[in-house]
Symmetry: C2
Subunit: 145 residues, 2 copies
DNA sequence: TCTTGACCTCAAGTTGACTTGAAGTGGCAA
DNA sequence: TTGCCACTTCAAGTCAACTTGAGGTCAAGA
């Protein structure tokens, strides 16, 4: 059987072994057994890690990712909640498009202060939550390396 | 002049006053003066906060956001770095689209485990970094509420 | 003038997501 | 059989980004 040693999974996924152990500890992924001391993972762990990576990028906490996709690919969330997450991501995508355009603009515009550039301000007016007194963005949380 | 009291800015932006003070302390935003003790902000602060919010969503650290857009709308980054950021965001957008589709699929698919659903796996194969042994995603950092 | 309440400062605490370090284990090549 | 070394556990440390708390200040309405 094609089980992956934690070291191999770490190398293939780019996720440090210490992080994989941590993910297993909090129930985000599952190892299928041991060879000696070493954890062995199934090949689907790679897919799961890609999913986790994307979920983190989307600003979901590990707990939320766990609920949405589960350890063995089983979601604990009701359909409605999942669609809500998807809707949040749509909003986020629109924000990112605006941000990307703003960055490209800043890179090219020669105005000394972008805050005073009308084109820049028009770009930002398209932000999905630029006028939002409403609390908290999509899955917004702080980020680290 | 139409200056905003910190309380008003907080209410309009949805950002807690304590956070606004923190942002000023680290040089991310700037108050234009005081009325008594109270900080007064210019109306462009609202735009800046929208930008900060989007930058956070994109996974940038406050330090990076500061460099990219500056306190007074002045970037300290070279053009090339700004375009690089924009490129990173493009990658991230593609990841989010994949994730959104995966969530919608999970919401509708009746397979007991999505990991074994061929459609789900095909969806994920479109992830921009699903096979990446390469380090660190775009501006990937950890997130909080 | 007096009170109120929203602000102020500064230090310390919190949170999620890891990382690090010390001390131990076990499969495998020499 | 002996080393080696990549793994193991467990506790403690780190980091960004805030939040909280104690004690203080001041503008404005009663």
């Amino acid at each position: 059987m094609n089980l992956l040693d934690i070291g191999v999974l770490s190398e293939r996924s780019g996720v440090p072994a210490s992080t994989l152990r941590y993910y297993e500890e909090i129930g985000l992924i599952e190892s299928l057994g041991r060879r000696g001391l070493r954890r062995q993972f199934g090949p689907e762990a790679l897919t799961q890690l890609a999913l986790i990576s994307m979920g983190k990028t989307a600003g979901f906490s590990l707990e939320e990712i766990k609920n949405a996709f589960g350890k063995r690919g089983v979601s604990t969330l009701p359909r409605q909640a999942l669609h809500q997450r998807a809707d949040d991501i749509d909003v986020q995508i629109r924000g990112l498009i605006t941000l990307r355009n703003a960055l490209r603009h800043v890179a090219e515009c020669s105005a000394p202060s972008h805050m005073e550039c009308p084109k820049f301000r028009r770009l930002l007016s398209l932000a999905p939550y630029s006028h939002a007194p409403t609390e908290a963005q999509p899955g917004a949380r702080a980020k680290r390396k």
